[in-house]
Symmetry: C2
Subunit: 650 residues, 2 copies
């Protein structure tokens, strides 16, 4: 078919169609439907994303992408970064551009303003210019240039950043410029057909950023923005963003007195306040109960160990540069490390006594705290910390037990997620790269068996799964739980990881039925990941409106006035004795103020008590976010609370 | 009265008697009663312990001491060290003596044998020689010598140790030698009248010891021994010692799989095995329940903090030399310390929000793990470790709340001790040194108030108390709980410590009724001291025969044969569901072997099930150390267990 005037394009549904050579993505989309042509933002050609306007010269597998595809947003926001750059250039003629990529939510551009400065107050003006430029529907034009041309272009304009980027490109690289209106940028593309696609730009904030992320370099100005193909989508986005802000676990954590950080204690080291400990305890008790029923055995191990332990495990080589440095001792020249993982300690406990095939599986569980050094700029509330407590366990089992053990772990995780009200999740199954079997430790037949077990179990439990070849660790395949919260954001939660490596390194054995030594398989598992992580997610997912069983304060008694304080205390004591987390608001405030404060604290139940209630032994119930629920005898209310908690946790 | 031939001696009962000048302690004792003369071992003359044979030349307060006084044992064992030295000298003529003091239980002597060696096999021969020498009733003769004489004596004998000791004595020191039989020793005394007092010597063991405890010096041989005035007392002692050995918590901890240590993890860092975690959990739950009822609020704080925190608290200066060294970070030049104490973290939490007089007392509780570097030679099982978890809390209160808070702490501690079966205890009340008021921080009237409060509370609660002036810390008075175990040994348990220092250092304030800032008082309290300590004590106190509520495994089901395994499992599941820590012995062993193993594991209840039991839904009960208790319906047994636990913990 070489030299033919026609090419054959294969579509995702398997169909193949013939087009004239040099057809563009836009033409292809039009050919399929006018609607698709309107929605199209780019075209994937043989796994590479292309401009819709770029001619396709040979047979290929193609896929039109729209806003609903990650690649569609990528193109849209990439072009939007160029549009912002064009607006900046027209408003700040001396601006020099460094890099301007699309990101998960929008895009940014790092710019050098020499002596100038851009603050958030300038953003509306830039935004307005973007809108104006977009209306011109200027096409994004692709042009291949030689290295010399490219270098000359930027040297003439005194832009050291682009020069540096070009100089570092491999000699064989094709260099392309994209131009829209008056603005030209060094860029691989692809881009939208023209700026008119960008209907609703919004610049979000300004930050400092070092060139190439290196604090030894010049600090540039980073401008973040986002754009949408429709104004309504921007409005929805801004509303969502407000909601995200309101649910920021750092803000809620402070307001609800869950946790705090202290400059003196150190960044990234959470201090859990009483309300936070109530949450932690409710979570750990729930998990411990599950673990007890599933035959886990709790252990408690030190937070430090000699570096020797981590040399055996291999963690020392992996973490030594980037982690908290070794702890030396005043005498005896010992060296200890804060533990980066609990598994080596559990391997030591496995070795504490001889194990036979009858003793397996051995499931050692520990809410174990581990330490990872993160640079302070990377810390974020409870989701990126320097110490965190994993809901950790290690299962040592025979190869023939792998499947049932993993199934048990998944069932347990699903139970826990359901109780937490996290019902939208899937698992990523990380498998070997079949092209590079030599990268992996452990007998291939064991991998085969384990991967097969993972696949089957995920199916049996009825989980939505995404398989990723080549994503397994060198020491074993794994499952990662991904949870979507109430705002649709995906969070990585826990993990189930097979390990053929540590049993080797620690020389773990069990004797089989023939009294022969055999190597056990090790399964690392932490359904929630860490208490810090799950509390952060729950705060953002619920906005602090926890289910009753988790609420740090479950009931607050609000006396109408000081005259009713004695009865209020009596009610409080009764609830407390029943095991509820109950408080009495003893302040001499108005009942209105007391209710507002309790609502602000998101306490599920407010019991308002005045003269009538005191006389009749009743309470007037108000539920957070639901208002008044009527008057009921205290003794009738108690079983209601018990039932609700029982139903939430059963 | 100077120059008179008579002196006046005052006795402990206040009576004063006249004796001829130069009277000896032995004469005085004879004068009182022949029985006392027989029992007397020394005499305290104006607070100094003297030989019974030393003439008393002037008026004095005196007290005859016997075996029942610590000073009596001191004299007895000091003389016994000399007797052992005499025996050694006769058997090893080249031996050089270093130091040989009495200790809490017996005495030792550090000796240099040059090329020779003494092992435990040699001890009977030395013991026999001691008995032989003792029978000679050689008097211990005191002699004052000049420094030159003393130095010459030891230089002639080539003994560098005694020479060093003499050279270091202050110039004005009176130097005395004591001689019995062929043996002379540099010694302050005092000693027994003659060696015949020593009826029953026993040499216990041999160890290495560096001269002056410094590993750069020569290693000497340390021989430990003990002696008694009667053979029967030695027999009782040896029996007691056997019992102590059997109850050694290190041995029991291993046998009962409570905890372990690992060379790889590091000395002094306990790893808690599942049985140990069951114990820890039972203990913490009991304490948490008490704390909850008393309004404590739990917090959880990191195990590390920046050195800055400990500079504020003062711990950095106190611990820096002797503790685990600071942890450096790969970037940002930060420094962290493993926490030596929980209190600074709790002060930070106190400061987290403004506190008013109405918010106090604030009681922050944490089972917080702290780290102390101890030299490996000083480590001992769970009683001397490098990391331990305190049952810690800090109460921040107003000065007028100190008394009621301390009372609450004492009541809580007494409840806890009672539940643990530790019924023999007293408190030491450590007060200011009234002679040095300038040594103490905090207003004198607050000290006065606090000490008075401590005294009153101890009385109100009905505790046996011993006041010790000058034993208070510079920052506040304290109470220490001393517990005597089943073998009569005293253990220091928890502490209640007032603190006027940290509130100053952290600038803690609350606003009083007039909205004026005031300094709170801080009370440190840890009723058990640490989980490690209390578990060690309980192991030694109970010999591993824990009360049911604490037993790591409460019930074990023993099927008579494999045929009854299914019913055994059914019984096990039923007990497990009821919340008991229950196991099933699934091994194909004889029932006799299963019972022996369960007895060995000290499991309180063994349920033996065979065909009859399976058919009738019953269990045959055997109690550890109590034997068979008869057959009972399983469903009737369950409430018995619940009741027993309820009664033990109520």
């Amino acid at each position: 078919m070489a030299g033919s005037e026609e090419i054959r394009l294969r579509f995702p549904d398997g169909s193949v169609r013939t087009f004239p050579r040099g057809v563009t993505g836009l033409d292809v989309a039009k050919n399929i439907s006018p609607r698709l042509a309107k929605e199209a933002l780019g075209i994937v050609v043989d796994d590479e994303i292309w401009d819709l306007t770029r001619p396709i010269e040979k047979d290929a597998a193609v896929r039109i992408v729209t806003w609903n595809d990650p690649e569609g947003k990528y193109v849209f926001w990439h072009s939007s970064a160029h549009l912002m750059a064009e607006a900046l250039q027209s408003l700040y003629p001396d601006v020099k551009f460094a890099i301007g990529p699309p990101i998960e939510q929008g895009f940014y551009y790092d710019v050098d303003l020499e002596d100038g400065k851009i603050t958030e107050e300038d953003l509306p003006r830039i935004e307005a210019r973007m809108t104006e430029l977009a209306r011109r529907k200027a096409p994004y034009q692709r042009q291949t240039v030689s290295r010399d041309e490219a270098l000359r272009y930027y040297r003439d304009r005194g832009n050291p950043y682009k020069v540096e980027i070009i100089e570092e490109l491999p000699p064989e690289a094709e260099i392309t410029f994209y131009t829209q209106g008056d603005f030209t940028d060094l860029c691989r593309g692809p881009h939208l057909p023209h700026t008119g696609y960008i209907k609703a730009p919004k610049l979000l904030n300004v930050a400092g950023a070092y060139w190439r992320g290196d604090e030894k370099n010049k600090q540039l100005t980073r401008i973040y923005g986002i754009t949408f193909p429709r104004r309504k989508m921007l409005d929805e986005y801004l509303q969502w963003r407000e909601e995200v802000k309101k649910r920021d676990h750092r803000v809620l954590g402070k307001r609800l007195k869950i946790f705090t950080f202290s400059q003196e204690v150190g960044a990234g080291l959470p201090l859990w306040l009483p309300n936070g400990v109530a949450l932690r305890n409710a979570l750990t008790e729930m998990l411990q109960k599950e673990q007890r029923l599933r035959g886990y055995r709790p252990v408690v191990t030190p937070h430090i160990a000699r570096t020797e332990l981590y040399k055996i495990s291999g963690h020392y080589d992996k973490y030594k540069e980037s982690s908290f440095q070794p702890i030396k001792t005043p005498h005896e020249k010992e060296e200890y490390l804060l533990k980066p993982m609990n598994c080596p300690h559990h391997c030591i406990i496995y070795k504490e006594e001889p194990r036979s095939y009858r003793d397996l599986p051995l499931r050692l569980a520990e809410f174990g705290t581990v330490y990872r050094y993160e640079q302070s700029g990377e810390l974020h509330g409870l989701t990126r910390v320097r110490s965190f407590t994993q809901d950790d366990a290690h299962i040592f089992c025979r190869p023939d037990q792998v499947k049932s053990e993993i199934k048990g772990v998944l069932e347990m995780t699903l139970n826990a997620l359901r109780r937490l009200g996290l019902n939208d999740f899937y698992v990523q199954v990380s498998l070997r790269d079949p092209a590079n079997p030599e990268k992996y430790i452990g007998a291939p037949e064991r991998w085969e068996q384990a991967e097969q077990a993972l696949r089957e179990v995920v199916k049996e439990v009825g989980l939505e799964a995404r398989e990723e070849e080549g994503e397994a660790a060198f020491y074993g395949p794994k499952l990662d739980f991904m949870v979507r919260d109430a705002l649709g954001r995906a969070w990585q939660l826990g993990t189930v990881q097979l390990d053929y490596n540590l049993p080797e390194r620690f020389d773990l054995v069990y004797t089989d039925e023939q009294s022969q030594p055999q190597r056990p398989v090790m399964i690392h598992r932490a359904p929630m990941g860490s208490l810090e992580r799950i509390v952060a997610i729950l705060l953002e997912h619920t906005g602090g409106n926890f289910p009753l069983w988790l609420a740090p304060v479950q009931v607050i008694v609000l006396p109408v006035s000081d005259k009713h304080l004695e009865y209020a205390r009596q009610v409080g004591r009764r609830l407390f004795t029943e095991g509820f987390r109950a408080e009495v608001d003893e302040r001499s405030e108005t009942i209105g103020k007391k209710i507002r404060d309790a609502e602000h604290r998101k306490i599920p139940y407010m019991l308002i008590v005045g003269g009538k209630e005191a006389a009749e032994g009743t309470v007037s119930i108000r539920r957070h976010q639901h208002g008044d629920q009527g008057v009921i005898a205290l003794e009738a209310f108690i079983p209601i609370l018990h039932d609700q908690i029982h139903n939430e946790t059963a």
